[in-house]
C-alpha cells in the first residue's frame, strides 16, 4: 500500500480552476456571492414591477396624477368588489373541500387494506400535474349542456339537469370542483407523506391507553398532521386566490361576470379594456393582501420548520 507516494491530484490546471479559486474565498462572502444571482433575479422581479405599479396606480389612464384616486375609485367599483368577494369565497370553499378530500384519501390509502400503494399514489396525483387550462377544458367537456356526461348521468338516475356553468351559484361550485380536482391531490400527497412520519408506537401507546380508532385519530393523528395541514392549507389558499387559467378556460368570467377573480379582473382591465393604471391599483391591493398572507404564512411555517 504505497499510497503515500501518490500526490494529491489537486492543483492540476483544468477547466474548473477558475471556479475552484473562487471557492476558496471566505465562507460567508462566498455564501453571499452564490446567493446574489438568485436574489437579484427574484427580488428585482418583485421590486421593479412593484415600483412601476405604484407609479402607475397614482395616475389616470391619461397619465395625470390622481393620487389615491384610482384606489378610492376601486373601492366603489362593483365589479372589483364582487371579484374580490368571489375570489375569497371561492378560495375558502376550494381549500376546505380539498383538505377534507385529501385527508380522507390519505387515510384510506394509508390503511392496511390497500395493496399497491405506489400505484394508487401515482394515479391520485395525476390531476396535480395537469395545467389549469387543461383541467378547465377537461371539465368543461363534462359540464357541457349537450355533450357533457354529467347531465346525462343525472338524467339516467332521474335527477333534474343542472346548469353547471350557467348560473352564478352553480358556476361557483362547478369551477370550484375543477380547482378541487387539481388541489385535493396536493393535500392527499402532503398528508400521506406526513402520515408516514408518525411513529407507529404512538398508536400502540394510544391503544394501550385505551384510545379507539376515532379517538386515536383525533388525539394522535390529527395533531401530528396539523403542521403539514397548515402549510398545505395556506399554500393552496394563496394558490386559489390566483385562479386565472381556470376562469379563462372554463367560464371566461361568466355567467355575466359571476366568476371574475382578482387576477381575471386585472387581466381584463389591463389587457382587454386597456385601463392599465386602474388595473395597477387593483394589483396594489392584491400585493397588500399577499403581504398579509405572507406574514401569516411565515408565522406558522417558518417557526415550524426552522425551529426544529
Amino acid at each position: 500500500m504505497s499510497v503515500r507516494s501518490l500526490p494529491l491530484a489537486t492543483n492540476r490546471p483544468g477547466r474548473w480552476q477558475a471556479v475552484q479559486h473562487l471557492w476558496q474565498i471566505p465562507e460567508q462572502r462566498l455564501a453571499l456571492l452564490l446567493l446574489l444571482p438568485s436574489l437579484l433575479v427574484v427580488l428585482l422581479t418583485m421590486l421593479y414591477p412593484l415600483i412601476v405599479t405604484i407609479r402607475m396606480a397614482l395616475s389616470s389612464e391619461r397619465g395625470q396624477f390622481v393620487g389615491l384616486g384610482n384606489l378610492t375609485r376601486l373601492a366603489t367599483t362593483n365589479i372589483f368588489l364582487e371579484s374580490m368577494s368571489f375570489t375569497l369565497r371561492f378560495s375558502a370553499f376550494v381549500v376546505i373541500v380539498s383538505l377534507l378530500l385529501g385527508l380522507g384519501l390519505a387515510l384510506v390509502v394509508n390503511s392496511i387494506y390497500v395493496p399497491m400503494k405506489t400505484l394508487w399514489i401515482t394515479i391520485l396525483i395525476i390531476p396535480l400535474m395537469v395545467s389549469d387550462i387543461v383541467s378547465a377544458v377537461v371539465w368543461r367537456l363534462m359540464y357541457h349542456p349537450t355533450i357533457g356526461i354529467l347531465n346525462y348521468a343525472l338524467s339516467l338516475v332521474g335527477l333534474p339537469r343542472v346548469d353547471w356553468l350557467g348560473k352564478s351559484s352553480t358556476a361557483f361550485f362547478s369551477v370550484g370542483i375543477i380547482e378541487i380536482w387539481r388541489s385535493a391531490p396536493f393535500f392527499f400527497i402532503m398528508l400521506y407523506a406526513a402520515l408516514q412520519l408518525i411513529p407507529p408506537d404512538v398508536y400502540e401507546s394510544a391503544s394501550v391507553d385505551g384510545a379507539g380508532g376515532v379517538r386515536a385519530f383525533f388525539d394522535m393523528t390529527l395533531p401530528y398532521l396539523r403542521p403539514v395541514m397548515t402549510v398545505a392549507l395556506m399554500l393552496q389558499f394563496i394558490g386559489a386566490t390566483r385562479a386565472f387559467g381556470i376562469i379563462v378556460g372554463a367560464t371566461e368570467g361568466g355567467p355575466g361576470r359571476a366568476t371574475w377573480t382578482i387576477s381575471y379582473f386585472i387581466y381584463r382591465y389591463a389587457f382587454r379594456a386597456q385601463q392599465m393604471h386602474f388595473a395597477s391599483a387593483a394589483v396594489l391591493v392584491l400585493v397588500l393582501l399577499t403581504i398579509v398572507a405572507g406574514v401569516l404564512f411565515f408565522r406558522f411555517v417558518w417557526v415550524q420548520r426552522d425551529a426544529a
Binding site: 365589479i79 349537450t146 361576470r257 382587454r272
Partner: protein
C-alpha cells in the same frame, strides 16, 4: 367620458413608452437586455425567410376565417411567388394581440384581420396605412358603402368621441372589408307553414311563434341564442325596440322604457330556449339547428351557416328563412348589427407593397368569392346576388338586404368593446340568475358607467 382637449395621444400602455429615450431604455433594461442577448432569442429568424421572396404575415381569428384563408392563399402564392403566413388566434386574444402589436409599433404582421368595433382601439391614423392616400385606392361600387365606412377613420358619420374630434383628422380609408358579416334573423319556414303561423314581423310576433312551437319534451325549442359571456347577439332586439346603450354624447342611456322592453323581451324569449343555452357559444347554437331542434335565432353568416345549410350534416338544411331582424312595432324596421372584418395594413410593415397587393387580390370579386366558399363571408353585391350562389347559400339575399339597410355599428370609442361586453354580461346574468330585467338594466348601467369613469375614449 368627455375628456379634456388634448393632443396627447394615449394608449393602453400609458405615456411612458413615447417619452422614454433610447438611452433610458437601455439603462433600465441593461441587465435583462444582456441576459436576453446571451440567450437564443429568435427561435425562428424572420430575416432568413424574407431573403427568398416576401412572406406576408396575417393575424387572423381562429376558426373558419383562418381555415378559409389558408385554403385560398395557395392560389396567390402560386401566382406571385410570395408566401402567405396565416397566424390564427382565438377571437378574444386577437383583439388584445392586434392592439398590443399596434402599440408596440411592431412590424411582426403585415396585415391584421380587425373586427370593426376595434377600429378606435387601433388608432388607425397612427398604426394603419391610409390606402386611399398611399395607393390611391378608390371605392368599388360593387362593395357596400357601409363596409367601406366602417373601416374609415375617423368615422364618417355617427357619434365620435371628443378626443378623436379634437385631433381634427381627415377621414381616410384604412382597411378593406374581408368578411361582410351582419347579424341575421333566421327561422324554420317549414315549421311556420306546417303550423299555419306567420313569419314574424315584430319581436312580439317572434315571441308568439316561439311560444307556439316550443315542445320541451320533443325537444323542439322556439328560440335559440348565443348567450355566453358578453356577446352582442341580443343588441338587434334592443335596437329594434328603440333602445340603445349609449347616446350620441356617450352617456349610458340603457335604462329607458325601450331598454326595459328589450330586456323583458330577451328574457321571455329565453323561456323557449334550450336548457343550458345560457353558456352557448356559436357551436352549441349551431348544433341545435344541425340537430333540427331549433326554430329561430340570431346568426352571423360567417360562423356556421355553411354547415347549417349542408344537408349532409344538418336537419335544418334548406328549411331556413333568413331576414333582417323583426321590427319593434308593426310597420317598423328591425335594426341589425354590423360585424365586418376588415383587412388593415400595419403601418410598421416593411413590405407594404406586397401587403397591398394581397389586400386587393383577396378582396377582388373573384378571389373574395373563393374565400367566401372556403369559409369567408361575401361583402360584394355581385357575389351576394349571384343566383347560382344564392341557391347554395340561401342567406345571401338577406345579407345583401341587411348590408344595404344599412345596419348600425357598435360605439366608435376605444371603450366600445368592453362596454358591449358589460352589456352582454348583464343580459347573461339576467337569464342565468333569474335577475329581473330592471335589475339587469341597473347592473349594466352601473358597470358601464364605472368602466367609463376610468376609461380613455
Amino acid at each position: 367620458m368627455a375628456g379634456e382637449p388634448s393632443r396627447e395621444r394615449t394608449d393602453g400602455l400609458g405615456r411612458i413608452d413615447r417619452r422614454v429615450t433610447r438611452r433610458q431604455a437601455l439603462k433600465t433594461g441593461a441587465g435583462i437586455g444582456a441576459a436576453a442577448a446571451a440567450m437564443q432569442f429568435n427561435v425562428i429568424s424572420r430575416r432568413s425567410v424574407r431573403a427568398q421572396g416576401a412572406t406576408i404575415r396575417i393575424l387572423v381569428p381562429q376558426g373558419a376565417l383562418a381555415d378559409g384563408l389558408t385554403k385560398t392563399a395557395p392560389a396567390y402564392e402560386e401566382q406571385t411567388g410570395n408566401k402567405i403566413s396565416v397566424e390564427a388566434f382565438p377571437y378574444q386574444d386577437l383583439q388584445t394581440k392586434a392592439i398590443t402589436l399596434a402599440q408596440t409599433k411592431s412590424g411582426e404582421y403585415d396585415l391584421y384581420f380587425v373586427d370593426d368595433p376595434w377600429m378606435p382601439n387601433l388608432q388607425p391614423d397612427i398604426n394603419a396605412v391610409a390606402i386611399d392616400v398611399e395607393y390611391g385606392y378608390e371605392r368599388d361600387p360593387d362593395i357596400f358603402d357601409v363596409c367601406y365606412d366602417v373601416f374609415s377613420w375617423p368615422p364618417p358619420y355617427g357619434p365620435v368621441p371628443q378626443s378623436v374630434r379634437d385631433l381634427g383628422l381627415e377621414t381616410h380609408q384604412y382597411g378593406l372589408p374581408i368578411v361582410g358579416n351582419v347579424i341575421l334573423y333566421t327561422i324554420r319556414k317549414d315549421v311556420v307553414e306546417e303550423k299555419g303561423l306567420k313569419i314574424p314581423e315584430t319581436w312580439d310576433d317572434a315571441l308568439a311563434v316561439a311560444k307556439a312551437v316550443t315542445d320541451m319534451d320533443a325537444p323542439f325549442y322556439g328560440w335559440t341564442a348565443r348567450q355566453a359571456g358578453g356577446n352582442v347577439d341580443s343588441i338587434p332586439i334592443l335596437w329594434s325596440l328603440g333602445g340603445d346603450i349609449l347616446d350620441d354624447d356617450f352617456n349610458v342611456v340603457l335604462n329607458s322604457d325601450a331598454g326595459l322592453r328589450a330586456f323583458e323581451m330577451i328574457k321571455e324569449l329565453d323561456q323557449y330556449a334550450p336548457p343550458g343555452s345560457v353558456t352557448y357559444q356559436t357551436n352549441e347554437f349551431a348544433a341545435d339547428f344541425l340537430a333540427g331542434r331549433a326554430m329561430m335565432g340570431m346568426t352571423w353568416p360567417g360562423d356556421t351557416l355553411v354547415a347549417m345549410e349542408d344537408p349532409a350534416q344538418s336537419q335544418s338544411a334548406g328549411k331556413l328563412l333568413y331576414m333582417n331582424p323583426p321590427a319593434g312595432a308593426p310597420g317598423g324596421k328591425g335594426a341589425s348589427v354590423l360585424g365586418n372584418w376588415g383587412l388593415i395594413m400595419n403601418a410598421f410593415s416593411t413590405q407594404r407593397d406586397e401587403a397591398y397587393d394581397f389586400m386587393t387580390w383577396i378582396t377582388s370579386q373573384e378571389h373574395s368569392l373563393e374565400y367566401a366558399k372556403n369559409g369567408g363571408v361575401p361583402f360584394r353585391k355581385s357575389n351576394l346576388n349571384d343566383p347560382e350562389l344564392v341557391a347554395k347559400f340561401p342567406w345571401y339575399p338577406a345579407q345583401a338586404e341587411a348590408l344595404a339597410a344599412p345596419p348600425k355599428w357598435r360605439p366608435r370609442t376605444s371603450a366600445g368593446s368592453e362596454i358591449v361586453q358589460l352589456y352582454g354580461a348583464a343580459v347573461q346574468i339576467m337569464i342565468s340568475d333569474d335577475l329581473s330585467p330592471q335589475d339587469a338594466l341597473d347592473q349594466a348601467t352601473r358597470d358601464i358607467e364605472d368602466f367609463m369613469a376610468t376609461a380613455i375614449d
